[in-house]
């Protein structure tokens, strides 16, 4: 998926905001996300709370106002991560990048990996992410009995799986 603003770079920020009961989605690259200010969205939690857990609970009204970013691949929100202290998928590191960077700074005193890099990184990565997202989408359309869409998604999944199984 490419960024919907610049239509060039791959979209790594997938945001879902609920505003006045209306759902709004945005898919942006890192640069456009930074320019549009969505990376500075204030959430009703801070990362230090993960370790300190002394956060004043929001009222229902406050909670409803807070945008809940949901990972399009695994479907978890940052609050859900906080509750379990475990992430849902690799893509969460992009979706919750800002929060995680602050958390990592606190835990490791650093935010950049300098160790080993797998020799097979990159080529497969995009395809594998698409595959994971499609599998989740498929569950959704099966539930709504949109069989035509389901068939399309299944075809794409099959193609990706064949491509990925090649050495």
């Amino acid at each position: 998926m490419t960024c919907e603003k610049c239509k060039k770079s791959p979209a790594t920020f997938h945001l879902t905001a609920i505003e006045g009961g209306q759902k709004r989605e945005a898919h942006l690259c890192e640069d456009c996300a930074r320019k549009s200010g969505v990376m500075n969205v204030k959430f009703n939690f801070s990362i230090s709370d993960l370790l300190e857990t002394l956060e004043p609970p929001p009222t229902k009204a406050q909670a409803a106002k807070t945008p809940q970013v949901r990972c399009p691949e695994c479907g978890i929100t940052y609050s859900e991560f906080k509750a379990k202290a475990r992430l849902g998928c690799a893509n969460d590191y992009q979706v919750f990048k800002g929060e995680l960077l602050r958390l990592l700074e606190k835990v490791h005193g650093a935010t950049n990996h300098v160790g080993k890099t797998p020799s097979t990184a990159d080529v497969h990565v995009q395809k594998e992410h698409e595959l994971m997202r499609l599998k989740r989408e498929l569950e959704g359309v099966v539930k709504t009995e949109d069989f035509e869409k389901a068939a399309q998604i299944r075809d794409r999944i099959r193609t990706l799986e064949t491509e990925l199984s090649r050495p």
Partner: protein, 350 residues
């Protein structure tokens, strides 16, 4: 290979032959890895879990691993057998009790294991006897490289290896050294060691890892930081810290031997006497006495007992091992009888 085969022969790392083995029991390295194409286990459906297990299993055979591993699904084990694997340090407590498809691949000499579907899709582990961190890392690095071609691990240039818990991100590497610190404990200096290690961002845990209390004066020291340093640097850092602790423990051994030889001799010989003659023995008492005996052997207060025998007894007198040995479920009272008998038998003629 069956669990019985594992039970019969102790793991390579228990032999007590490695460097610095008077204080260092073992060196362990662990890598956390996830597959890019599957969601993490936190959100995985039972079907997706099963897919991961099948996928990993099919690739373990093909991967040219430095050591041949035998794979078992956890469903192949009874609950006692699972606990045996925990007591052997081959799997975690969580892995023994969790629900859903999961498994473990083990090298026959127990120096290598891979947990499949624990907190992360894969948890690779290498254990060596004594202080052998570089050697252990070299081996796990070769395993990791052999696996990455086929498995495609979740990786990001900024965050490194992506793990379910961000506290493992980056290298995904946890390095642990199991230390025996009986003199430091006897001199009531353990807090000093713990505090200085914690200041340097190292965790100190008991014999069975997270959430366990110190048992028989064994302490497991491991790194907390996994991101922002290379694997080699993480190892080099711990390599600088460990000699300080070894020096401290040895200095206290020397001091106790010089200043209060009779107190030390009495403690060791009493432990020997009780272990050789007792008819009932709790797990706590056994580990305490074995710890004193191990100290006595290291200080030559008492000779003729191989360290290997003592190292093994720490593991073989654990509850699940006793039950596996007797081939039936034992109540705690019965275990105390069996434990005392096993220790007497192993020390016979020594």
């Amino acid at each position: 290979m069956k669990v019985e085969d594992l039970l019969g022969q102790p793991g390579e790392w228990l032999k007590g032959t490695g460097p610095e083995n008077d204080v260092v029991i073992s060196s362990r390295v662990r890598l956390a890895r996830n597959l890019n194409r599957f969601p993490f286990l936190t959100v995985a459906t039972p079907a997706s879990r099963a897919d991961v297990e099948k996928f990993v299993r099919s690739h373990l055979d093909g991967a040219k691993l430095p050591k041949e591993l035998v794979y078992w699904p956890m469903s192949a084990f009874s609950s006692v057998e699972r606990t045996v694997l925990v007591e052997r340090h081959l799997i975690s407590k969580e892995h023994a009790t969790a629900e859903g498809e999961r498994g473990v691949a083990v090298a026959p000499d127990e120096s290598v294991s891979i947990m499949v579907n624990e907190e992360d899709h894969l948890r690779l582990q290498v254990i060596r006897s004594g202080l052998q961190l570089e050697e252990a890392y070299d081996e796990i690095d070769r395993m990791d490289t052999a696996l990455e071609g086929a498995l495609h691990f979740a990786f990001d240039s900024r965050f490194g290896y992506l793990t379910a818990c961000p506290t493992n991100a980056g290298t995904g590497l946890r390095i642990s050294v199991m230390l025996h610190l009986p003199a430091v404990a006897l001199a009531k200096q353990v807090d000093k060691v713990l505090q200085s290690l914690q200041r340097l961002n190292y965790n100190v845990r008991g014999f069975y890892g997270e959430g366990t209390s110190p048992l028989g004066d064994f302490y497991q020291v491991s790194n907390q930081v996994t991101l922002g340093k290379s694997e080699r640097d993480l190892i080099a850092d711990l390599r600088k810290v460990i000699p300080e602790i070894l020096r401290f423990e040895r200095a206290w051994r020397h001091k106790l031997l010089e200043d209060e030889p009779k107190r030390l001799e009495d403690k060791v010989w009493r432990a020997y006497g009780v272990l050789k003659n007792a008819r009932r023995m709790s797990s706590e008492e056994a580990t305490d006495l074995l710890s004193s005996l191990r100290l006595g052997v290291n200080l030559n207060i008492l000779t003729g007992i191989p360290i290997k025998t003592l190292n093994e007894l720490f593991i073989f007198t654990q509850p699940a091992h006793l039950q596996k040995l007797e081939r039936r479920i034992l109540e705690p009272d019965e275990r105390d009888l069996v434990r005392a008998e096993l220790i007497r038998r192993k020390l016979e003629g020594l």
